[in-house]
């Protein structure tokens, strides 16, 4: 049994994520502060909410800083959660978590925004989250922004939406998916299992 925490920004459906993690064998707590002792093997930043309020809830309600809390523990950021790994976002004015160099920019206006629905993953290189996931697998996306890392090395999968949208990023102990694994049926389940495997290490 692996024990993980979901950080709740207080803005939306985290029930589905909690439920999906429990289905693949995790014990899940929902936390709203980093001030209690870290008894977890992994942390998830969920994918619902807005950039500034979510950043504020991470930064302003704990004495302990995100990076200090996390240490070397695996962190999975989903959608907005992944966007927060970067320095800044066009969605808001707040500074991001700044664990990956780069920024978050709005999707091109030539396309319908939000990018909503099932899209293919184009796997760029092997990654821990993508183990056992075939090139071309379908994932469920719903987002209006995309990440733009300074280095393409962190991108392990992309998706085509008029432009190449980074779909999975990995950097040290930080893993991010632009899509929602908890809503991506069997493929999403594999990725959550992969993340839990990292947590067990």
């Amino acid at each position: 049994m692996v024990s993980v925490a979901i950080f709740d920004y207080g803005a939306g459906n985290i029930f589905s994520l909690k439920n999906s993690l429990e289905k693949v064998g995790a014990t899940v707590d929902v936390i709203t502060t980093f001030d209690n002792s870290n008894v977890y093997s992994g942390l998830l930043l969920p994918g619902v909410g807005n950039f500034d309020p979510a950043m504020n809830s991470i930064r302003n309600y704990s004495k302990i800083k995100f990076r200090d809390y996390v240490g070397h523990m695996p962190v999975l950021g989903i959608c907005l959660g992944m966007e927060m790994f970067f320095e800044k976002s066009e969605e808001g004015k707040e500074q991001g978590l700044d664990v990956i160099d780069g920024e978050v920019i709005v999707l091109p206006s030539s396309m319908k925004v939000p990018h909503m629905g099932w899209n293919n993953l184009e796997i760029k290189k092997p990654g821990k989250i993508l183990e056992g996931v075939k090139d071309g697998s379908w994932a469920y996306f719903v987002h209006s922004y995309r990440v733009k890392p300074n280095s393409n090395d962190v991108i392990t999968a992309e998706s085509d939406y008029g432009i190449k949208v980074p779909a999975v990023v990995e950097y040290e102990n930080f893993f991010g998916t632009q899509f929602h694994p908890e809503k991506s049926s069997a493929i999403g389940k594999i990725m959550l299992e992969n993340f839990l495997k990292e947590c067990k290490k």
Binding site: A11, G12, N13, F15, S16, N19, S20, V48, G49, N50, L80, S109, K112, V113, P114, H115, M116, G117, W118, N119, N120, G136, W138, Y140, F141, V142, H143, S144, D160, Y161, G162, H180, E182, K183, S184, S185, A186, G188, K189
Partner: protein
């Protein structure tokens, strides 16, 4: 590849049970929304929509429990609508595991709720449902269209299609987008229940008026109706109910049929 067209089964729920004539052999209790949700999800549905048509607010409280049960058995997105009037109604639905909330009459009565929902939960959670009906009393302040030598405009109806509002559909969807809608669920009252195909004109005009995704609804009787709406408009998703009630047109069967006719779907 790119984004696929979404195929969305819709379940009408009353007092916690699925209503409308259902005819499944593989499901013992066709009226159980949780079992049906699981079945559709396993068959490859891209999303689900639940419309709560429960009459009174008191009885509607069952929806919270239903949402939670559905969310614990399926791993695809789902929308819950019907009777959503306030931020509190929407929060109840979203925090219990739904991904999106559909708002119809509540948005017409109080458009600000769209913006409030968007600010709190994000645009992607806000589905504005629009019930449209052709009105042949042509009036120059409206967006006038013609088909078969008849002129008309599309009027927004509320309270489950019972009451006209005098509001022009094209103006309303633009307004809803501006306020913060993430998606439009567009139902043709003229076509609903006919099994005669979607209202192509309505769908394409709405799709061309907004830059958020649109779901076509009302009139689907066979897979070819979906092909028609996808080929003749740039709509993003097709919603249907009765078509999936027969095993011959299971979700998977419908999607294979579409794929063979060059509609990009997830299989």
């Amino acid at each position: 590849m790119t984004l696929t067209k979404r195929i969305i089964p819709c379940l009408d729920v009353k007092n916690g049970r699925v209503v409308k004539g259902l005819n499944f052999e593989s499901i013992k209790d066709a009226g159980d929304p949780v079992k049906l949700a699981e079945k559709y999800s396993n068959e490859g549905a891209d999303e689900l929509v639940f419309l709560d048509i429960t009459a009174s607010d008191e009885q509607r409280k069952t929806i919270k429990e239903l949402v939670r049960k559905v969310a614990s058995v399926i791993d695809i997105p789902f929308t819950v609508g019907g009777g959503v009037k306030s931020l509190e109604d929407a929060r109840n639905i979203l925090l219990n595991g739904a991904d999106k909330v559909g708002i119809n009459t509540g948005a017409i009565k109080n458009p600000k709720v769209i913006a409030e929902l968007m600010e709190l939960f994000g645009r992607q959670c806000v589905v504005v449902a629009v019930d449209a009906k052709r009105n042949y009393s042509v009036d120059n302040s409206k967006n006038i269209f013609s088909e078969n030598d008849k002129q008309f405009w599309f009027e927004v109806f509320i309270y489950g299609g019972k009451e006209g509002t005098g509001i022009d559909v094209i103006n309303w969807v633009k307004e809803a987008e501006k306020l913060g809608a993430g998606e439009i669920l567009l139902t043709s009252i003229d076509k609903d229940g006919t099994k005669d195909g979607y209202d192509i004109l309505l769908t394409s005009k709405v799709v061309d008026s907004v830059s958020i995704p649109v779901i076509a609804s009302g009139g689907c009787g066979k897979p070819d109706d979906m092909i028609e709406v996808f080929k003749k408009s740039n709509v993003d998703a097709a919603l249907a109910a009765s078509i999936f009630h027969y095993e011959t047109h299971g979700v998977n069967g419908v999607k294979s049929y579409l794929k063979n006719r060059a509609i990009p779907v997830r299989l």
